[in-house]
């Protein structure tokens, strides 16, 4: 069973790995997005992630289901943390296990790229000089998900 969550607590990589894997799987891939100490040449002290939580939960689940179908696995876990994070803390974790490695790499990369395109999450960086700024992100495309006419 795939697993997705928007979380406020610290993400434990070992626990994420425990959510996936099966006897038929020969490959496991864990991606961790980590808060780094610099951004566009500025020194970063920490970040704050905000989200549209109900939608983010749905979009993350959609992305994982798309990847799972393509990779023919139901052993994917994806978590995104929100709130205040320090440098070195994990903001996103994506664990995939598949019988063969190619599918694991493809699914993992697909999920992180789609998160960057579609997940309604915003990041405000806190710089060493005390300034804060919203990170310039990517405009999600209406075509990035099934369209509805709202009626």
């Amino acid at each position: 069973m795939n697993f997705t969550a928007i979380v406020r607590e610290a993400i434990d990589p070992a626990q994420v790995l425990s959510l996936i894997g099966a006897d038929q799987d020969g490959a496991t891939l864990l991606f961790l997005g980590v808060v780094r100490d610099h951004s566009d040449g500025r020194s970063v002290g920490g970040v704050r992630y905000e989200t549209y939580e109900e939608m983010a939960a749905q979009v993350l689940s959609d992305i994982v289901e798309e990847a799972a179908e393509a990779a023919d696995t139901d052993r994917i876990a994806a978590l995104h943390r929100i709130g205040e994070l320090e440098v070195g803390e994990v903001s996103v974790a994506i664990a995939v296990s598949t019988p063969h490695r190619a599918e694991a790499y493809e699914a993992s990369r697909y999920i992180i790229e789609e998160i960057k395109k579609r997940l309604p999450v915003w990041k405000k960086e806190r710089y060493s000089d005390g300034a804060e700024e919203w990170v310039e992100g990517r405009a999600p495309d209406a075509a990035s998900a099934p369209q509805t006419d709202g009626s």
């Binding site: 905000e50 903001s91 495309d141 990035s144 509805t148």
Partner: protein, 85 residues
């Protein structure tokens, strides 16, 4: 014609900071589209004029085209460029 539609409009991150609020109830005539909602917001003046004229929009948590017609009770979120991961 049907009666007016009442839209729960949500703002996040930079839009929320800009407007000083995360949520507004907006009444629009029947048949109004996502574009019409954005125009109605921008016509309020002040900080609202700083909103982009074609922001990304999610209707009931699904990214939606500006031409989509809104229904009474829709939850419409204006989505600033995303920066997750």
């Amino acid at each position: 014609m049907y009666g007016p539609v009442e839209i729960r409009t949500l703002f996040f991150a930079s839009y929320k900071e800009l407007l000083g609020t995360g949520e507004l109830q907006v009444d629009l005539p029947a048949g109004a589209t996502v574009s019409d909602l954005v125009s109605a917001l921008r016509s309020r003046g002040g900080a609202f004029t700083v909103l982009p004229s074609t922001p990304a929009v999610a209707v009931n948590m699904t990214y939606t085209d500006p031409a989509a017609v809104l229904s009474d009770g829709d939850e419409v979120a204006l989505i600033p460029p995303v920066a997750g991961g």
